[in-house]
């Protein structure tokens, strides 16, 4: 991979690859589901690392491991540092 500089890219959570770090930009979906995710720590501004991509995926968040499979009406957008 040729790093031509670092930029931020907004993408859905499930597109992150193993080991990639990102921060959560937006949670979209049913309000009570979003509320629950936020209570578990998956909130706007939280930093995550993808441990094992897939469905469900495994995330590192605040030193904890969270397994997540999002549904069609629930989406998490993250900002990842990507080689531009």
């Amino acid at each position: 991979m040729i790093a031509r500089g670092i930029a931020e890219e907004i993408l859905p959570l499930d597109l992150l690859q193993a080991g990639e770090e990102a921060s959560i930009v937006e949670l979209i979906g049913n309000e009570s589901q979003v509320h629950r995710l936020a209570e578990m720590g998956l909130r706007v501004g939280a930093n995550i690392r993808m441990v094992r991509p897939g469905t469900p995926c495994l995330l590192a968040l605040d030193g904890k491991r969270l397994s997540i499979r999002l549904a069609q009406d629930l989406e998490v957008l993250v900002a990842a540092a990507v080689p531009a």
Binding site: E31, S32, Q33, V34, H35, R36, L37, A38, E39, M40, G41, L42, R43, V44, G45, R49, V51, R52, G54, T55, P56, L58, A60, D62, G63, K64, R65, L66, S67, I68, R69, L70, A71, Q72, D73, L74
Partner: protein, 764 residues
Amino acid sequence: MDSTIPASSIERQVSSPAAKFTVALVGNPNTGKSTFFSALCGVPARIGNYPGVTVEKKIGKYRDSQGTVTVVDLPGTYSLSARTPDEMVSVDVLLGRQADVAHVDVIVAIVDATNLERNLYLFTQLRQLNRPIVLVLNMWDRMQAEGRTIEVDELSRRLGVRVVAVSASRSQGIDEAKKMIRQVAGEPHATAASLFPPILEGEVNELSQWLRETADIELQPFLVERLIFDIGGAHASELARRPKLSELPARLAQIRERLAVAGQKVPALETRERYKWIRSQLAGIASVPDEQSRSLSDRIDQVLTHRVWGFLMFGLIMFAIFQAITSGTVWAMDWITGSLQSWLVSGVESLLAPGTLRSLVNDGIIAGVGSVIVFLPQILMLFFFIGLLEDCGYMARAAFVMDKLMTKLGLSGKSFLPLMSSFACAVPGIMATRVIEDRRDRMVTILIAPLMSCSARLPVYVLLVTAFVPQVSWLGGWIGLQGSVLFAMHLVGLAVAVPVAWLLKKFFFPGDVPPFVMELPSYKVPSPRVVFYRVWERAEAFLTRAGTLIFCTAVLVWAAGYFPGDHRPLNELTRKIEQAQAQAAESAEADASTEKSLDGLPLDGLPLEVLTAQRRQLSGQLIEQSLLGRSGKLIEPVVKPLGWDWKIGVGVIASFPAREVIIATLGTIYSLGGDVGEEDEGLRAAIVRSRWPDGRPVYTLPVALSIMVFFALCAQCAATLMVIKRETNSWRWPVFTFFYMTALAYVAALLTYQVGTLILGAMA
């Protein structure tokens, strides 16, 4: 254990009326809350349910230097929101609104010291309840091992509560925590300042006033705030059902609208402000988690959560458990049946003359209840392994691996844990489905949970497997055929559950697959205490059941098998035999001859073996003429296609209230029917010897398999059906479960026997 040391009488005199008080234990899942609870209280004094909901009510007690403290253990939760009726229970208990729980004097908030920031979220809600709080920083040892620090004194000053560092798994800091709880109980406490912008407080006040004026309802500010935060929450809908408050939902919508206009959108407002406050409180006094420290857990997870290896490992672990259950407990079983049971029977024989009372004790109670007790070692072993797997953190990994499969059925990994605990017992398994938020998913999980092979089926399998499956082993004795068959039997229910779940989801509860979010705790060495209590709890439940339900059925079955009938000739014969045996024993002692001469000894001109044969025949006639025998013959045509005789049929029917009863029933039937031998008492020997009238053995491998398959699938558990009724709040679903499972069991047992016999016939 410090909690069981009785306080000295001097200390008791000092104690004031306030010596007794109640504390509530609250915390996130995976904070070691149950370890802390057992370190505080030992075995819970009372486990039950809160009325109307499915929340487990766990209450314990401990003594400190000044008196008794009652501990209410609330279910692990990430938030004190009130979106569902279940969640509302915790809020009600903490606010003293739950009628059947004493007023909570102290809140003990337990948090994981290695993950303070996220765990304190719940604390920010608890501090609004205006109760004294002790903050327990658990897993202190682990945090230290990670080379991190928390400045406890400064944290305590900033948060305005007492803070104690605890390592519950090592029982460190427990006494200090107790001391602190006692101190806090007597102290006045200041009202916590709000951490939300003033606009919210204004809305809360206004709404409180409206509730007071319109419906004369006085709610704590925390509850009013929750009405605003929890969109579509259970508490709001409950209030809105009151005639005067039908306007409430519209009012809440207006409030949220006004907040949104002011840039404070609900529900983001709540989480944002709480986390912001936490971060400011922790700034500079708690070091941030180091990602490297999880490396060991992560390395294990590389294998255990792998989509292929993880799956194989899960199968392997389960297989190993069932191998251990069969090979590790045979000696205990043999000891109970071989030594203990026959010792008891001969003890009774020497005390009681042949007659009704002796028959009741020996055939009804010892052969009935005793046959069930034999299986205590297996059940304890199963719960030992389940306890280990749960406490070390593996179960969450299994749910992660299984989620992929579960989504194919339209369920989620969330359903896996209740199903897994149904392998122990469907009753707690069904209650555990409350973690499933999606109603349709929860219903499907409840309806298939009874198919999981629970520990009450274990005795049936073990009895038949050890009697009819050859004792072959491979790999130097590490893998046995019996253990493998036992494992396979546990897969039968699981395999059948797959199409059942699919059909239910497709036709009864259609809908999208809900999202799945679950925390995977770090692996840890299981706490011996937690595992021990788990095993203890089940041993108690099993023995209680044997002493009550199974005891009663055994006596009823005995009575049905004993009456009506003239037992005098039989008693006379028995007396003769016993005399002969006593004489034989005497003469055997005299000339030190072997058992061989005993059988041939003439008495009344008849050898002993002729007398025993006569007795067996007479006993057989008596039981066939009894109430049990006659009704058994009546149902024999129904069970004959499954390969069963009337005795098995009666046993199966008697075991509909609880499946272990079959063991007791068969034990009594064979004991009454004279099928139990003289040397080897015990049910296993009796079923091996059992014959059809034409002399063919009743039990062949296909018959044993057909019985096992029937038990694997049939809904023979009144407790499970009752819990389904309670959880679904309708009679429709327990009735449905009963019929679908029983029909399935009959058809599957029929196929097993018929196909099995065909195969055996073709091989011969």
